[in-house]
Amino acid sequence: MKEIKFIGRGGQGGKSAAAILADAALEKGDFIQSFPEYGAERQGAPVYAYTRIDQKEIRIHSGITNPQIVAVLDSTLLTALPVTEGMPDDGILIVNTVEDPKQVRSRINFHSGRVFTVDATGISIDAFGKNIPNTPMLGAVEKATGLVTLDVLKKKISDKFIRKIGQEGVDKNLNAIQRAYDEVKEG
């Protein structure tokens, strides 16, 4: 079973990202579960959201304490929270930042596993004119993990957003995902 943790701030779309990833994995034929961790919800407060993906039915209903994959949607949380807590040695960390992976590694003193960085905020501002980094982050997560496929991810995003934001809005999201997928760096 794969367990993924999204760390962001309220309003950045971490909860939606976790749900979209689960939805895409279900579309692919896997079993899934996704849930946010609710505390005091308010814009800007740290928020966790989780996804489980497995080949067999997922029955467990407890929280995730050892995520193999962690996606950080806001780089200011890197030092504010223990983002790599509970990660295994071969864990994958994906961070929304303009820094390169080596800088992130030294800043949080994380020298195992794999680290990826992408400027999802920059991509988001280019695409939407504001910082909603969740969809580009999904592109980066997919490139780093291969959990679903880019096509399935794009299809799910289209399905989810078409009624709300129309084709133009969907296209902006799809371009943002593609850009993040292409631009994410490992190191």
Binding site: A22, F31, H61
Partner: protein, 388 residues
């Protein structure tokens, strides 16, 4: 059939869409509110035809449910925690008037202190109110219990609480298989109300004063209605299982064939316990899980049969019964097994206010009860996962 990713609240809203009740009085409360968001969306999209009454409190939500149900409408509502507590007076009245209202209860801790997360103090507080109660392990069951519950309510002429765990399942996305709309409608059938107020050719009085002359007889009949609901559950489940290809019973016995140590629990914790049972079974341990899907009416004979020959039983209660000898599930199960004599039974109070219950904690319970095979239980009421 196709699986769709949806939250527990969306799953329940979909059951409401397919049942399409005539009247839905509702008042928001976390974590229930999203059920009504979902239903209201179906309503404004023209997918359902019912009337959503936005009332000013839960007391009014249940009052409007009673009124609409007396009038002859098929009625559904939903609530949680303090909302259910505020309904209290009318919850009893709905049951005593034998009104087949189906209410989803998204289990949440009662205040105080104020807390929005899961435990069963809300619905367990209503366990003697005369409502049938079903508890869902996951989103699929939350969806299906609402459908089965609707049919059972109308057959037993009793209200049904269909409970799911706040946030743990209500706000978790899981794969859910929805039945065909028509198939659900066929199963539910047409609502034929008993002595509806709107049948003006045959006027009837509802809710009159009833003093020492007949009150007791009416309560006795209400009680009989609840006893009869035991066999009606079997009938409805049989129809349901045949139509939808399920095997729903009052209880789910998981890995119970030769189990010597058994955990008994409700709702989402059962899913986590199944993971533990599988892993302990791989190590050759004779462990099992008994899940109650139906809590009211209490399936005493079935429980007795399932548990009588076991060695040690741990009953997990996600609620505290202050001053009682253990939680409600514990005391009733212990009472059910009194004559069978053999199993030792111990109670664990856990998960209050959403406190985590994980596989390690459940493993520890199995380890502990294994040790009671050869020694006396020193303490019958234990607290799991609390700082002391």
């Amino acid at each position: 059939m196709k699986k769709t990713a949806m939250t527990g609240t969306e799953a329940v809203a979909n059951a409401m869409r397919q049942i399409d009740p005539d009247v839905v009085p509702a008042y928001p409360i976390t974590p229930q509110t999203e059920i009504m968001h979902g239903y209201a969306k179906f309503l404004s999209d023209g997918k359902v035809t019912g009337e959503l009454i936005r009332v000013e409190s839960e007391h009014s939500a249940m009052s409007a449910s009673v009124g609409a149900s007396c009038a002859g409408a098929r009625v559904m509502t939903a609530t949680a925690a303090n909302g259910l507590a505020l309904m209290w007076e009318i919850v009893y009245i709905a049951a005593s008037m034998r009104l087949p209202i189906v209410m989803s209860v998204v289990n949440r801790a009662l205040s105080g202190p104020i807390n929005i997360h899961c435990d069963h103090s809300d619905s367990m507080g209503c366990r003697d109110s005369g409502w049938i109660q079903m508890y869902a392990e996951n989103n699929q069951e939350a969806y299906e219990n609402a459908i089965l519950g609707m049919r059972l309510a109308e057959k037993a002429r009793l209200p049904v609480m269909s409970c799911l765990d706040g946030f743990i399942t209500s706000h978790a996305v899981e794969p859910v298989t929805l039945f065909e709309d028509q198939s659900v409608k066929d199963f539910i059938g047409e609502h034929i109300p008993d002595h509806p107020l709107l049948d003006t050719d045959n006027p009837t009085t509802h809710g009159p004063l009833d003093l020492f002359d007949y009150y007791f007889e009416h309560k006795r009949k209400q009680s009989q209605g609840m006893f009869d609901a035991k066999s009606l559950f079997k009938e409805v489940a049989a129809e349901y299982n045949q139509r939808f290809g399920r095997d729903i019973k009052e209880l789910e016995e998981y890995s119970m064939d030769d189990a010597e140590t058994v955990i008994v629990a409700l709702s989402s914790t059962c899913g986590t316990a199944k993971v533990v049972v599988d892993s302990l079974r791989e190590q050759g341990k004779k462990v099992g899980l008994l899940k109650l899907r139906l809590f009211r009416p209490f399936p005493m004979n079935e429980i007795k049969e399932a548990l009588k020959s076991r060695k040690v039983i741990a009953v997990l209660d996600r609620v505290e019964s202050f001053g009682a000898f253990g939680g409600p599930l514990f005391s009733e199960i212990r009472s059910a097994l009194y004559e069978s004599g053999s199993p030792k039974i111990v109670n664990y109070i856990y998960g209050l206010g959403g406190r985590e219950i994980d596989t390690k904690m459940i493993e520890r319970v199995y380890e502990e009860i294994e040790s009671y095979k050869n020694k006396e239980i020193e303490e019958y009421i234990k607290y799991l996962g609390v700082r002391e």
